[in-house]
C-alpha cells in the first residue's frame, strides 16, 4: 500500500489546521455561511436533512486494518456507532457535530486519511477495481495509476474550480468492475505490442443525462497518462458550461462539442503541455508501483478448506457466492456482504469494522477494499483460512451469502439522509431484500443487480442496474420509476424505462411481478435476468408490471 511521505503528511496536517481555524471562525461569527460553505465542501463536510455529513475519501477503495479501526473509532466517538460505505468507495458519517469535525480530520490524518476533494467542483476520489492486485483477469494493478492521479489532482491549482465535479476510474482487467464507462474519464489498462498503456474514455456519466463514455484514445502510452489527463481536464475547464449546472459535466461538453472536435482540442493541448512533463512523474510512478507490490504470500495446504466445504452447507453457500478466484490458486478473494437482508446497504457498525480490520490483519495481509457496490473486500485470503474467516464474519452478522444476488442492492442514502433526494431509497432496498428472503427465490433468480437512487443524480447507479429504481417526488408523493436492461460492465448499457412509476407501497410487489415473469419466461436456469431481457425485450416485463393496462388495451 502507498504510504504518505513527508510532503503528504505535512499537506494533510496543514489542511486540518486550516479547516480547524475556518470552523472556529464560522462558530464565532467571523465567517458567514456563504463564505464558509465552499470551504467546508472542499473538506467533505455537507449539511444534510437531519445533520452534517462528513465524506471521507478512501483512495481507490484501499484501506489497511489500522485505518479501518480508526473509522470504527470515529463512528463510536463522534457519530452513532456506524458508517456508510458509498458507491464511490468512500465512507460517510451521518451525524457529526460541526465542532467535532476538526478533531475527526485530525484523527483521520493520524492514519493517513482525509476528506479533501470529496465534494465541490474538483477532481474527486479516483476509484478503481476493488479486486485490484488480486484478480485473475488482471493485466496490471490499476492502483499505482490511481495514486499517481490522486497526487496530481489533489490541490491542483488549475482544477479547483471546474465547471462541475469530475470523476476518474481506473480498471486493470478485461472485466470491468469499476464502471469506467460511467466516469468523466475512464481508464482501461491495455497492452499493445508488448507495451502497456490505456484505452481512454471520456464523457461517461449517469445523473440527469446518462451517457456511456466514448473512446478518446484507443491506446495512450503509460508515460503520457498525466499530461493527457491534464489536457482533457484543461479543455473541459475552458469549454465546460458554467451557465447551467445540469449541463456542466464533461459528458455534455463532449456531446455538444462532438467527439472528433474535442479529441482534436485535447490532442492540441496535449502536444503543448507534454514537454513540461520531463519524467519526474514517471520516477514517482516507479516509487508508487513499489508500494503496491504483491504481498509475501504464504502457501498453505487447503485440506481444512475442503473438509469445511464438503461438510458445512452454510460455509459452502457462502464460498459459492462470496468468494472469487484469486490470481494464486491457493488464495481467494473474499467479498464481505454489507447487505444482510433487512440491513441498510453499505452500513457497517464500529464493531463490524473492527472485526473486518482484525480479519485483514490476521488473514488478509492487512488489506481491505471498499467496492463501489458498497461491500468490503478481503483481496488476499489463503483458501485454508476461509473457514475461520467465515466463522468470524458470522459472529458479527457479516456472513450473508448474497454477493451478486437480488439482495446485493446498491442504494444511495436517499431522503432518509440526503438533502438533494426526492424520495427514499434505503427502505425500498430493505423491503425488496426481505421480501425475496421470505420467498426464498434469491438463488433461483441468480445473478441480478438492482440499483436504487433517491433522485435524478443517480448516486445509486440505477441507470446501469439490470433493474434500476429511481425515486421521485410526484405531486408531493414518493413515486418509483423502473428501468430495465442497464449494465455497468464492459458491455455498459443504460436501462430503459418501463413506463409509469409506482407508489412507495407498490414498488416491492412490482419488482416481485417482474421477477416472477422472468422465472416463467427464461430459457433455463443459466439464462440470467439480463440475458432474458436482451432476448425478449421489454414487452413481457411491461405486461407483468402493468396488468391493469394490458386488460384495458385488450378490451
Amino acid at each position: 500500500m502507498y504510504q504518505y511521505n513527508d510532503f503528504d503528511e505535512a499537506f494533510v496536517r496543514e489542511r486540518v489546521a486550516q479547516f480547524s481555524a475556518q470552523v472556529q471562525r464560522r462558530i464565532d461569527g467571523s465567517l458567514t455561511e456563504d463564505e464558509f460553505k465552499p470551504l467546508r465542501l472542499m473538506n467533505g463536510l455537507y449539511l444534510q436533512l437531519h445533520a452534517y455529513m462528513l465524506r471521507v475519501a478512501v483512495p481507490y477503495g484501499t484501506l489497511n486494518g489500522r485505518q479501518m479501526r480508526q473509522l470504527a473509532h470515529i463512528a463510536r466517538t463522534y457519530d452513532k456507532g456506524y458508517g456508510h460505505f458509498t458507491t464511490r468507495q468512500n465512507i460517510q458519517f451521518n451525524w457529526p457535530k460541526l465542532k467535532d469535525v476538526p478533531q475527526i480530520l485530525s484523527d483521520l490524518a493520524d492514519v493517513e486519511m482525509h476528506a479533501i476533494q470529496t465534494s465541490g467542483n474538483t477532481i474527486r476520489n479516483v476509484t478503481a477495481d476493488h479486486f485490484a492486485g488480486a484478480a485473475k483477469d488482471e493485466i496490471a494493478d490499476p492502483r499505482p495509476y490511481a495514486e499517481l492521479l490522486r497526487q496530481w489532482s489533489t490541490d491542483h491549482p488549475e482544477f479547483q474550480f471546474l465547471p462541475r465535479k469530475f470523476k476518474i476510474a481506473v480498471s486493470g482487467s478485461t472485466h470491468d468492475r469499476a464502471v469506467v464507462r460511467a466516469h468523466d474519464i475512464g481508464l482501461e489498462i491495455v497492452e499493445k505490442d508488448g507495451e502497456r498503456g490505456f484505452r481512454v474514455l471520456i464523457g461517461g456519466g449517469l445523473g440527469r443525462t446518462p451517457i456511456i463514455g466514448k473512446v478518446a484514445r484507443e491506446f495512450l502510452p503509460e508515460a503520457d497518462l498525466l499530461p493527457y489527463c491534464e489536457a482533457i481536464v484543461s479543455v473541459y475547464n475552458l469549454l465546460g458550461r458554467r451557465d447551467n449546472k445540469y449541463k456542466a459535466r464533461i459528458k455534455i461538453t463532449v456531446h455538444e462539442t462532438g467527439l472528433e472536435e474535442i479529441s482534436r482540442m485535447i490532442e492540441e493541448r496535449f502536444s503543448q503541455i507534454r514537454p513540461a512533463f520531463t519524467g519526474v512523474d514517471q520516477q514517482l510512478l516507479g516509487q508508487i508501483k513499489d508500494a503496491f507490490s504483491a504481498p509475501d504470500y504464504v502457501a498453505k495446504d487447503d485440506d481444512a478448506f475442503q473438509i469445511a466445504y464438503d461438510n458445512d452447507p452454510l460455509f459452502r453457500a457462502w464460498v459459492d457466492t462470496n468468494v472469487t478466484d484469486h490470481v494464486r490458486d491457493d488464495h481467494a478473494i473474499v467479498s464481505i456482504s454489507i447487505k444482510t437482508p433487512g440491513q441498510t446497504p453499505g452500513d457497517a457498525t464500529a464493531e463490524q469494522m473492527v472485526a473486518m480490520a482484525e480479519l485483514a490483519e490476521s488473514f488478509g495481509y492487512d488489506e481491505l477494499r471498499i467496492s463501489h457496490e458498497q461491500n468490503v473486500i478481503l483481496p488476499h485470503v489463503a483458501r485454508a483460512d476461509l473457514p475461520e474467516v467465515h466463522a468470524a464474519l458470522r459472529d458479527v452478522g457479516l456472513a450473508a451469502a448474497n454477493i451478486g444476488l437480488i439482495s446485493d442492492i446498491i442504494a444511495c442514502p436517499g431522503m432518509d439522509y440526503c438533502a438533494l433526494a426526492t424520495a427514499r431509497s434505503i427502505p425500498v432496498a430493505q423491503d425488496i431484500a426481505l421480501r425475496f428472503e421470505e420467498l426464498k427465490l434469491a438463488h433461483d433468480i441468480g445473478p441480478l443487480k438492482i440499483k436504487i437512487s433517491g433522485c435524478i443524480n443517480a448516486c445509486g447507479h440505477h441507470h446501469v442496474g439490470h433493474i434500476g429504481i429511481l425515486g421521485l417526488d410526484r405531486a408531493g408523493v414518493e413515486n418509483y420509476q423502473i428501468t430495465l436492461g442497464g449494465d455497468g460492465t464492459e458491455d455498459a448499457a443504460i436501462g430503459t424505462r418501463t413506463g409509469p412509476g409506482f407508489a412507495y407501497d407498490e414498488i416491492v410487489p412490482a419488482i416481485e411481478r417482474l421477477l416472477l415473469a422472468y422465472l416463467d419466461l427464461r430459457e433455463g436456469e443459466d439464462e440470467t435476468f439480463l440475458q432474458a431481457y436482451r432476448r425478449v425485450g421489454m414487452e413481457p416485463f411491461k405486461a407483468a408490471l402493468y396488468p391493469e393496462k394490458e386488460k384495458v388495451d385488450a378490451a
Binding site: I27, G29, L47, H50, M415
Partner: protein, 99 residues
C-alpha cells in the same frame, strides 16, 4: 392570477448540531415543529424569513416550508418536511429518538 398563499413555517438547520429547527412566534428556534409559528400572510412570511436569515450564528439555510394547522400546532404537508420532524426511517435516530 397569482397562486393563493398557503400557510408556512420558517425552518432551518442548527449551525452547531445540524439538526432541523423551526422558528417560533417569540423568536426561538425549536426542534418541535408543533411549537413553530404558522404564518398565514405572505408579507409576514417574507419578514420572518429575513429575520431567520439574519441569525447566521445560530442557523443555516433558512427557508419557508408549507405547513397546515394541526391539533397541537403546525404540521408538515410534504413528506420531506415530515421526515425532517422525525429522522431517518432505517434507524431510530434523530428527533424520533429524542422524543
Amino acid at each position: 392570477m397569482p397562486r393563493a398563499f398557503t400557510p408556512k413555517v420558517v425552518t432551518a438547520n442548527r449551525l452547531l448540531e445540524g439538526d432541523a429547527v423551526w422558528l417560533t412566534a417569540d423568536d426561538r428556534w425549536t426542534t418541535d415543529m408543533s411549537e413553530a409559528e404558522l404564518i398565514e400572510d405572505e408579507a409576514v412570511s417574507q419578514d420572518r424569513l429575513l429575520f431567520a436569515m439574519g441569525q447566521a450564528d445560530v442557523v443555516v439555510g433558512a427557508y419557508l416550508a408549507d405547513a397546515k394547522a394541526g391539533e397541537d400546532g403546525p404540521e408538515p404537508t410534504h413528506f420531506r418536511e415530515a421526515f425532517r420532524t422525525r429522522g431517518p426511517s432505517n434507524y431510530a435516530h434523530g428527533k424520533q429518538a429524542e422524543a
